[in-house]
Symmetry: C2
């Protein structure tokens, strides 16, 4: 029986990944401090002896307390501005210490490590769409930097660990992802709009709503993770070396672009009878104007592309949020 | 008697700063692991009871072992590619742990903290000259990223510590700085050229030599540090808030630009009788093509600008290197 560790396993994406790994017959250990994750997300695994939760902060975790895993998924970190800006230093250090823990474990046991990086490392990009070679446009001292720079630093630690110790790590830069089990108060646009529309409050659009976003449904990302993990170490090495990237890193996102205003309109359309109106508010500082993944490398290496359209994913997500009111 | 701590105090810049602080009547503690620093740099303070060296890695330092300081200067980190690429993970973590140590100490005692950041946070810049608001162009996974991203992360930790705890920190983005007590084997262009010319070896210019650099003499930077430290906390806060920068940060460098080829020629001219010839070699990966500071903010806040011309500084530096052969 293969064993997998998922740090942040009680979170939105972590819990979907745990479900998939369990369905594939893995023994799964989730490590989570439950800061943004929740036991509710794990309810479906109750009584499943192949699953266990270690309730601990990844910054405090000791490798000696864990046996060997075949695969390690590093997902632990608050990921929404409302959560990470409440505890910026904690967030920055979670990125750094979290990946150091996973790297040490992977190095010790020769495990495959799949690290969740983020499109936020591109900041407010000046190049569209963003290929993996784009260096980004992040303000080091802005209010989003605890997340963005923490994640940039984690990529650096990964790249140097590969060069220094040959650890088998694959990084994923995850673009906006949504779906059931998103935190209803995570302050991100999909959950904001859905919760506002479901409770009849005004839908708040920041700026004029013309900024675009791409929205990836969670199942597409989980499929991405599994295909990425399935590639052999030498295949990974050759693919990225040939493309002159310093380390294995792929964008994972849905390139279909929607304006924030379109999203607000789709959300309202998906909730017939909602009494909400759309209102405009000033744009917060450091908010990226636009971001869209170039996923050609992922298509080439993994034969992957997103399959769930926004209308379909939005309907499933709104169904979930209805259970959270 | 005022007390100052200088992490990296046995290094090139640290030792000049210690000398200046001692001359101003401070009691000075230097904290250094002597990885790139050297006791030779501290020879002038031998027997000075106002000076002491704590030989320890800043990553292992405990705040409980130190009394209160009026001023803390955070300079500890390998800063030349030849040193930091030999130990990339160590370098990245030195930046992060080093500033965390200083922040904790400064917060505990209400000290002023002056943090040495770097022009490397701009990477290979796409904007010239670089103002402090420029976000940079750094490859997160390249061979220089352990230094660049470590320093970016340190800036983030500073900015969030100011926002979260009100710590009094001033950051300096130091551009190329040179002078006596540079490490003769640090692989940087001034020391390379000087040592090559002094020993009659070929002067190696990478690329075609048309890439430009700005060179700041060490005394100019030390003057900068002292003026920056002299500004009151509220003056600092108001100045940077009015300029919409997320935290106090100033460029320190000499905007006078020279091509690498010009530097090679000036070095040869300063060493009459050198048998060296100039030869071209391929440009290493991630090497910035050009970098030049915009120092208008420093001029405005500190009334500071560099005073030592390249020819004068180069002569003093070459005199120093003559003693190191």
């Amino acid at each position: 029986m293969k064993r997998a560790l998922v740090t942040g396993g009680a979170g939105f994406l972590g819990s979907h990944l745990c479900a998939r790994l369990l369905a594939e017959g893995y023994e799964v250990v989730a490590l989570d401090n439950l800061y943004t994750g929740s036991k509710d997300n794990l309810a479906a695994f109750a009584g499943n002896s192949a699953f266990s939760l270690v309730e601990r902060d990844v910054c405090e975790a000791k490798t000696d307390d864990f046996g060997a895993f075949d695969e390690i998924y590093s997902l632990a970190c608050p990921a929404s501005p409302v959560h990470y800006q409440a505890r910026p230093l904690f967030t920055a250090l979670t990125s750094v210490k979290g990946i150091l823990f996973c790297l040490e474990l992977a190095r010790r046991d020769g495990s495959k490590l799949i690290h969740a990086s983020t499109s936020e490392i591109y900041g407010d990009p000046l190049v569209h769409p963003q290929p993996e070679s784009y260096c980004g446009n992040v303000n080091t001292i802005g209010v989003r930097s605890c997340y963005d720079e923490g994640k940039r630093m984690a990529e650096t630690l990964v790249a140097d660990s590969i060069r220094e110790y040959g650890v088998d790590v694959r990084m994923v830069r995850i673009f906006n992802t949504y779906g059931p089990r998103m935190h209803p108060q995570d302050g991100r646009v999909i959950s904001n709009f859905a919760m506002q529309a479901l409770t009849g409050r005004d839908i708040t659009v920041f700026g004029d709503g013309s900024q675009t976003r791409s929205f990836q449904y969670c199942d597409d990302l989980i499929e991405f993770f599994r295909r990425y993990a399935a590639v052999g170490k030498s295949g990974i090495r050759e693919f990225f070396a040939a493309r002159k990237l310093g380390a294995p890193v792929l964008n994972a996102g849905n390139p279909a672009e929607f304006t924030i205003l379109e999203l607000a309109q789709k959300t309202l359309a998906a909730i017939p009878g909602s009494k909400s109106k759309i209102v405009m508010r000033p744009l917060p500082s450091d908010d990226p104007k636009k971001r869209k993944p170039d996923i050609s490398l992922a298509k080439e290496l993994l034969g992957w592309e997103p399959e769930v359209a926004l209308d379909e994913g939005l309907a499933k997500t709104i169904d979930y949020f209805k259970t959270r009111i």
